[in-house]
Every structure is written in C-alpha cells, then in structure tokens.
C-alpha cells in the first residue's frame, strides 16, 4: 500500500495533517484497486498483485500467466496409480508451493495457490491438496499450478505444469487393455458356451496382492467379482481386463451374470 510521505520539517501541524491523511488513506484503501479485501473465493477478477510479472499470454483455459524467476517459481511432479475401482489416483509432489484453499480468489502470493487438472486438454477440476482422483479413460493428464488469483504460475513464458500419459484406456471402453502400471498376478480365462477354460479352480492370493483378470467371452456378458463387487462388461471375442487389489480375506466367486457361470474362485488369505 502506498503511504503518502509526511513532511518532516513542520512537525506539529504537518504531522497532525499527515496522520489524518494517513488514516483516511488507510480507511479508504489507498485509492488503488482493492486486491486483498475480498473474502476468499469471492473475487471474479484476476487480481493484479505485485508478485512476479503478469504476462499478456494466456494458457488454453484462458488464464493469464504470472512469470517468476525459475529459482523462486513453484515446481510440480505428478504420479498416478490405478485405483481398484477404476480410474487413477493422482499424487502431486510440489516444491516452493503450498495449497491455500482458504485464500483462493485473493491476491497472488508467491508459493501459494492450487492445482488444476486438465484431462485430454479439457479442464476437469482443481486440487486443493496433493491427492486426487481422475476417471478411467484418461489419456493425458496435465497438472498446472495456479496462484490464488487464478493466474497460472509460469517460468520463461511457459506454465508450471507436469504431464503424464495414461495410454491404457480403462473401462468402459469396449476393448480395455491391461493398464501399464498394473502389477501382480494375471489370470486368463476363456468362456465359450458353458465351458470355462481353464476349468474353475482357486486363485490363491495374499491379502493386498494385485490380481488382473483377463476374460474373453464368446458372448456379451457381465463379469462380476463377488465380495469386491466389481463388474466388467464383456463383449464377444474381445479380452476384457479387470484389476483389483485383494484387500478382503475370504473365498470370493468370479462369475458371469448372463450365462451364470463360475469362472474361478479367489482365495484371499
């Protein structure tokens, strides 16, 4: 806030005047544009705080870039891991950055703000913490860091962002392929008519182990893993893949709904 300079030479009167002026200025808000007087999240404008350099360039979603020297700018890395119920769990590792959901809408302050998720180039939501989830079928995820005033933090004219490619499209696409990060056991099962190949048996798993079921059916059907209540549509002749983490102990049946066949049993100890 600019503070009018008080004269130093004529102490009593000038000082008194200066004090009144200062109070007035303080009360009316310096005559400049208000930047921090909004309650968090109520601002509809991009604030023009003094942090960094506001560039005229905008990112794809129309936010102006706010340039910082590389040494002061925040940084972000992103990891994804498949979720047992589908989609991906997203984890951000940020440097020189803090998630500040309370002051969103306020002025840009260095090292504060939120992250935005862009799924296949479309803005899909914000993260106010390092963890989030994105739906199955995502091919490319871009995570971008934004300041509280919604401008995009940038270095050398480019947004601070991390990109991750999730090429394995998961269900409900008709022919899902194994997810690249899926590990653990894989069981292949083929159903033709009422014959299950290999014949129903038991898959022994340790609690916490990951299991991928790759099922090929000769007719449209639905695969159902009891207990975990996971379902997967099967289309004729196309292998479909379901990955789950065996986190409940017990004996669980894997069957098809339409033909009512038991494919295998999961024994989780």
């Amino acid at each position: 806030m600019r503070r009018p300079r008080a004269g130093v030479t004529r102490p009593p009167l000038v000082a008194a005047l200066a004090a009144v002026l200062a109070a007035v200025v303080l009360l009316t808000g310096c005559g400049g544009r208000a930047t921090t007087h909004h309650k968090p999240g109520t601002s509809h404008e991009e604030a023009t705080g003094g942090t960094g350099t506001l560039l005229t360039a905008r990112d794809e979603s129309g936010h102006r870039l706010r340039e910082l020297p590389a040494a002061e700018a925040p940084a972000v890395r992103v990891e994804t891991r498949p979720d047992t119920e589908g989609g991906w769990n997203v984890h951000l590792t940020v440097e020189r950055f803090r998630f500040t959901p309370d002051s969103t809408g306020g002025a840009a302050l260095p090292g504060r703000g939120h992250a935005r998720l862009l799924i296949d180039g479309r803005e899909a939501g914000r993260l106010y913490s390092p963890w989030g989830h994105i739906p199955a079928g995502t091919r490319t995820l871009i995570v971008r860091l934004h300041a509280d005033d919604h401008t995009t933090w940038a270095v050398a004219g480019a947004p601070v962002q991390a990109t991750v490619r999730l090429d394995g499209a998961a269900p409900p696409s008709p022919a899902p392929t194994p997810r690249p990060t899926a590990t653990g056991r894989t069981v292949d099962i083929t159903v033709s008519g009422s014959t299950v190949q290999p014949p129903p048996s038991r898959v022994e798993l340790h609690q916490g182990e990951r299991l991928t079921l790759r099922v090929t059916s000769d007719r449209a059907d639905t695969l159902h893993v009891h207990g975990y209540d996971r379902e997967l549509p099967l289309s004729p002749g196309t292998p479909a893949t379901l990955t789950l983490t065996a986190d409940r102990t017990g004996l669980f049946e894997v069957e098809t709904h339409e033909s009512g066949l038991l494919l295998t049993q999961l024994v989780v100890r």
Partner: protein, 438 residues
C-alpha cells in the same frame, strides 16, 4: 460359510438370467478353506480321547433326560408362562412376518436393497440356531402361522396319525434347504413369495384339519428350532418347571418320534452339500453337466442326504446285529447326531450370520445397499472356530451316544457296542472336514 444369499449381490444386472445355484443365496463372501493337517489332527485326537476316556470312566448312564435340572425362580417362570408374554411374542412374530411380506411385495426385487431375503435366510434360518440354543424352542412362540391359525381354530380337530411323527417337517426342511442351496433366483421376490405361499398354505390346511399340534410335527422351522433347543441349558422338566440343566440331559430327552432320523439326516446332508457347493470340481461338474445345473445340484443335495442316512443306517444295522434286544436301533441313537449337525451349522453359518445379519438389519432400517461388515475374526480365528465347532459337535455326539449305549447294552458289550457309532463319527468327521478344506 456358504449359503443361500450369494445371488443377492447381483444388483446391477437388469436381468440376472438363469443363475447357477452356488452356495447360499445371500452373502458374497465365503469362508476360506481350512488347513487340512490341523483340522484332521485335532478332530481325531479329540474323538479318540473322548471315546477312550468314556469307555474307561463312564460305565453307567448319567443322563436323566427331562427329569433333571435346577428350577428357575417361580417368579421368572410365572413371567415366562404369563398369557401376556405369550400374546406379546405371538404379536411380535406376526408383525415381523407382516413386515417381511410387505418388503417382499412392495420392496425392490434386489437382495442388495431388500432386507427380505436376508431376513429369511440369515435372521430366521441361521438366527434360529443361537436363539434356540439360548432360549429354547422360540419358533413355537413366535410362529406367525400359529397366530393366523388361532384366529379360526377348528372345532374338532382330527388326531395326527402316530406314524407321521415329524416326517412332514423333515420333508419341509429338505425343500427349504433345496431353496437355499439349489434353487435358481432364490432371492427374487417372486421365488420367495411362491415358497412362502406354499409353506403357509400347507401349514394352515394341515392345522385346520389337525389343530395346532400340526405345527409341532410339520412346520420345518418349528421342528428345527425345537430340536436345536434340546441343546439349550434352558429347558422344561417333565413336571413343567422351567429349569437350568446340562444340555446333555435335554439332548437325552429328545423324543424318539418317527422322522427324527430323517430330520437329522436332512440337516447333516444339507450342510454337507453346502460345503460341497464351494468346491471348484463340483462347480465344474454342475456347469458341464448335460442335465443342466439345477437338476444336477438337486441330485447332489439328495445324494448328500442319502449318503449321511446310509451311513447312519449301516451303523444302526450293525448295532442291531450286536444286540438283538435293541428293537429301535435307528431312533435310539438319532439324538447323538444333533450336536454334530449343530457343529456343522455353526461352522458353515457363523460368518454369514455375523456379516449378513447386521447388513440385513441395516437394510431393514432404511440403509440402501448397506455394506456388510467384515467378520470380526481373522481368517485364522474363523478357521479355528469352524474346526472347534465341528470337533465339539462330534465329541458331544460321542458322549451322548456312549451314555445311551451303556443304558441300552449289557455292561460287557457296552464298549464294543459303540464301535459302529464311533466308526460313523469318524466317517462323518472325515467327510465334514474334507468338505471344509476342499
């Protein structure tokens, strides 16, 4: 645990199609197979030790049937016998049945959202086990059909044929276990309403002809509850006093009615089939059978009951050969199969009861698609409980049979006389544990 409720989980399929009958209709989690070595070692050690100890230490009959027991305070008996208590229980049963019926008629046809299938297969069928064990023959008091019947009791009921015994109930139990373990779509409202209508019709027509004693002979749930109540510490002495007694005395007082053997064999055979229905090889047989899965599973259930009955029949035949004076070898020892059946019921249904029971109650309380709580025992604890239940059942059976045997046989042949029974217990243990470790 396995059970009628597996099919309950098909919430998302608009048309579940011809479901394969697999285990219980409710409950999507089954118990883990047991570790064979500990199961067999424990079972045989317990059986052998009890057999030898009994032979050495127990030379005369100690069980006094319904003559024994420590009377409960009279005030308690007065409350238990008060007409108001009886009417309240009758009303409770009738209201519960009405709620069940309304859920079936008006509720969604989906076992994940309708508590009715769980109420029938878990709360009633499995819940009757602990209830009868603790409190005695509770279904007699709650039976809503008795309430309906009491509105129009027949003026002069005909007597029941003496040879009938509890045979109608044995048949009813076989049909119910078929519904639970074999019938396709056994959790759909249509199936359950049909079964309930059939049951109600048969029971009410029978009771209209023969009066309310019909229920004690023909209502499967009442007979099931009354038989399990034989092992309850709470019982009624011959003079009508409410007493606390050792379950052995109650068991010893099991009436040797015609049909007792059949009923016990149905209970044992159906739990055996329940264990078999989890076996992948049996499932493959079902799925590839040219007869189709339902007829094959029906044959499997009948074969399991027949096998249990044949084993017992052989044993009774051997007993008869050893002691010509034993005129009723079949019914004389049938009561010793009851604790065995109870052991298997506990082993098969415990985890179903503790997971699906609360879930059913939550659903009835309005929770949509409630999540079944995890069983509070880990896999190891559950396996121990299952083996312990089976072994305890067999040991109690051996004790009951031994006591009956020293009463019926002359002293010099009492030990030898039990060898067939002991062989039978070993065969049942082999079969029973074999199915659990499958």
């Amino acid at each position: 645990m396995t059970g009628p409720l597996t099919r309950l989980a098909h919430a998302l399929a608009p048309d579940p199609g011809p479901g394969l009958p697999l285990a219980h209709g409710v409950g999507s989690r089954h118990d883990l197979p047991l570790s064979p070595f500990y199961a067999y070692a424990g079972a045989f050690a317990a059986l052998l030790v009890s057999f030898l100890a009994l032979g050495l230490l127990w030379s005369s009959s100690r069980f006094r049937g319904d003559l024994s027991g420590r009377p409960l305070p009279l005030a308690l008996q007065r409350v238990a016998d008060a007409p108001a208590t009886r009417t309240a229980l009758r009303l409770l049963g009738a209201v519960a049945a009405l709620v069940l019926l309304l859920h079936l008629l008006l509720g969604p046809d989906d076992p994940d959202r309708n508590p009715a299938p769980g109420a029938l297969y878990v709360l009633l069928w499995v819940g009757l086990v602990p209830a009868s064990l603790l409190l005695g023959p509770v279904w007699r008091l709650l039976n809503p059909l008795r309430a309906v019947h009491s509105l129009h009791p027949p003026p002069n009921p005909r007597p029941l044929p003496a040879a009938l015994g509890i045979r109608p109930a044995a048949l009813g139990l076989l049909l119910f276990t078929w519904l639970e373990l074999v019938a396709p779509d056994n959790t759909s409202s249509a199936t359950l309403l049909t079964a309930l209508a059939l049951h109600t019709g048969v029971q009410l027509i029978g009771a209209a002809r023969h009066g309310d004693r019909w229920f004690a002979h023909a209502d499967p749930f009442e007979v099931y509850s009354s038989l399990l109540a034989r092992l309850s510490p709470l019982g009624r002495r011959a003079d009508g006093r409410l007493v606390l007694r050792s379950p052995f005395h109650g068991l010893d007082a099991t009436p040797q009615t015609p049909g007792l053997v059949a009923t016990v064999c149905v209970l044992l055979g159906s739990t055996a089939y329940d264990g078999l229905s989890d076996n992948p090889r049996w499932i493959t047989t079902l799925q590839t059978s040219p007869l189709g899965p339902v007829p094959t599973a029906t044959l499997g259930l009948l074969a399991a009951v027949a096998l249990v009955a044949a084993g017992y029949g052989l044993c009774a035949g051997a007993l008869r050969l050893m002691n010509r004076t034993l005129t009723t070898p079949l019914t004389s020892f049938a009561h010793s199969l009851l604790p065995i059946a109870l052991g298997y019921l506990v082993a098969h249904y415990f985890s179903l009861f503790v997971t699906e029971g609360p879930r059913t109650v939550m659903m009835a309380g309005g929770t949509d698609n409630a999540l079944a709580p995890a069983p509070f025992l880990g896999p190891g604890g559950l396996a121990t409980l299952q083996v312990a239940a089976i072994v305890t059942g067999h040991v109690l059976g051996v004790v009951a049979a031994h006591d009956r045997s020293v009463r019926l046989f002359p002293p010099d042949r009492a030990i030898a006389g039990q060898l067939p029974l002991f062989a039978l217990m070993i065969a049942y243990t082999l079969g029973g544990i074999g199915l659990l470790i499958a």
